[in-house]
Amino acid sequence: MDQAHAPMVLEERPLPVAARKPLLKRMWKERWLYVFLLPGLIYFIVYKYLPMWGIMMAFQRYMPHQGLLDSKWVGLRHFERFFSEPEFWQLLRNTLYIASLDLLIFFPLTIILALMLNEVRVELFKRTIQQLVYVPHFLSWVVVVGICYVLLTTEGGAINSMLQALGFEPIPFLMSEAWFRPMIIIQIIWKDVGWGTIIFLAALAGVNPQLYEAARMDGAGRWRLLWHITLPSIQSVIVVLLILRLGNFIDLGFEQIFLMLNAMNREVGEVFDTYVYRVGLLQGQFSYSAAVGLFKSAVGLVLVVIANTLAKKFGEEGVY
């Protein structure tokens, strides 16, 4: 490592006068590359970094007509307000609840589905099922939630028609608190469980077949092969994906939840981003909602950094 860095250090050592010219010269030599770079760089500065600068409105009483520089500073008042509102606990509870359902139900299901697919011996059947279960991943959330609506509505939806035909009362799934979380998790499963298997299947394909041969020679049955060879060999992938998913939980499913929310289930469904949209853009409390957004982004950043550090500890590469 030191060796590789040595020539670079030599090159970049600041030789007072001489160093500046070579840098400019080097830059001039690459002028066309800067032309290539410029549009993208402008994009990142304007649409990614200017909003970060705009975060200062979270510490102000921001008035759009006054602008960021002339609005009144209020310190941490918006944060104090947010942490003392009952909504804070509600948002936290809802986020944690949906995230735990995701981790406890969706995540294990992707592993189980991958293992099941891996055990299929008829290649054609395996590929057909794979291609079927990948499709929903590419549908928009509006389509997924839309399909859920036409299936579950009390006005001629398939499920309620069936219930009525069997002599039951129709259930107002879409307008109920109790059904909100089950619907969210079922939609996630339908949309992404197949997609989630890809990375496990890739890991499974990399398992050395000789391990299986050797174990079979020793008389191991399929369960033992699964338990002692297959699972241990994808263990690190499972751990890393689990950690990364934990690290992202605060960003969970905003587009989906936004579509599923209504006045009847807001109590159990509202999460940070939907709250920011509602109080910020619909009610015009820009500074307060920017503060809520900043809280969310900051927690997200800390979690992702922790998750990546942990993931690297387990010997795998993180997302950055």
Partner: protein, 284 residues
């Protein structure tokens, strides 16, 4: 592979295949229901009376045709913009000798971890004059940091000798990019183009955030109006838009129409995504 022919093993296979088959059917059942209901006056798994009425209605109603045109337009133009910006920038930062490259890469990586959030971004979009224009659906998310890094790695993997030989022939960077690098990366560009296109076609929230002029709404927003907001559950009590009620077959037909383009490109997507996901796990 030595086949295990024991009873237990065969029983396992049978159960395994049945459960998987059932799951596969459950996955496509909603599609079949929606498609056949769109051709039927009563929602059903098999159309009771075949009719194209819903589709005729959709394609003759201004709201729907306009939103479809908007979606097609932003998907085509937006994908081109995204591909141009991403590939040019990725090519520039794929040069290790470029002064300032590390700073730019760090800047890009940081945006994957932290963002200004919805409200500050809204004000930037507003002050750059994109509000209520179709540009708001294409520009604010023009470059995916993730795709940029993958594409950068892809460009770095192109053998240096190929570029060197072009340099000897007297081409400068622009020439090398267009004559050597781009033709070599066409499959990769096609893959990223598809993923970008699916992303734009599927987006709805940008339109809800940035576009209040209903004549500029893409089809996903119309779909939300027709199916979700009109099903009795009005998304937000504070939203004041007029909700019009549509028949079930029209709702189903709108779902079908906004899904078909995805299904059409799916075979092509499918060729690329396994590779894409694996590439994605390559560190930047």
């Amino acid at each position: 592979m030595v086949k295990d022919r024991s009873f237990g093993s065969r029983l396992f296979d049978t159960i395994n295949v049945s459960v998987l088959g059932l799951f596969g059917i459950l996955t496509i059942l909603p599609f079949i229901y929606v498609i056949s209901s769109s051709f039927s006056s009563v929602p059903a798994l098999w159309p009771k009376d075949f009719s194209l009425e819903a589709y005729i209605y959709i394609f003759s109603a201004d709201t729907f045709t306009r939103s479809l045109l908007v979606s097609v337009y932003i998907t085509v133009v937006g994908t081109l913009i995204q591909l141009c910006l991403t590939s040019l920038m990725a090519y520039a930062v794929s040069h290790k000798q470029l002064p300032g490259r590390q700073v730019v890469l760090l800047m890009v990586l940081f945006t994957m971890l932290f963002s200004g959030g919805m409200i500050p971004t809204y004000f930037v979009v507003k002050s750059t004059g994109l509000l209520d224009t179709l540009w708001a659906l294409m520009i604010p998310n023009a470059i995916s940091a993730f795709y940029l890094i993958i594409l950068k790695n892809f460009f770095q993997a192109i053998p240096e000798e190929l570029k060197e030989s072009a340099k000897i022939d007297g081409s400068h960077e622009v020439g090398i990019f267009f004559r050597i690098v781009l033709p070599l990366s066409l499959p990769a560009m096609a893959a990223f183009g598809l993923f970008y296109a699916v992303g734009i076609w599927n987006q709805y929230f940008s339109a809800i955030l940035y576009i209040s002029d209903a004549s500029k709404w893409p089809v996903q927003v119309i779909l939300r109006q027709v199916v979700i907001m009109a099903s009795g559950a009005i998304g937000d009590s504070t939203e004041v838009e007029q909700v019009v009620y549509y028949s079930n077959s029209i709702k189903m037909a709108v779902i079908v129409v906004s899904t078909v383009p995805i299904l059409l490109v799916y075979p092509f997507l499918q060729k690329h995504f396994a590779k894409g996901v694996l590439l994605g796990s390559v560190k930047g």
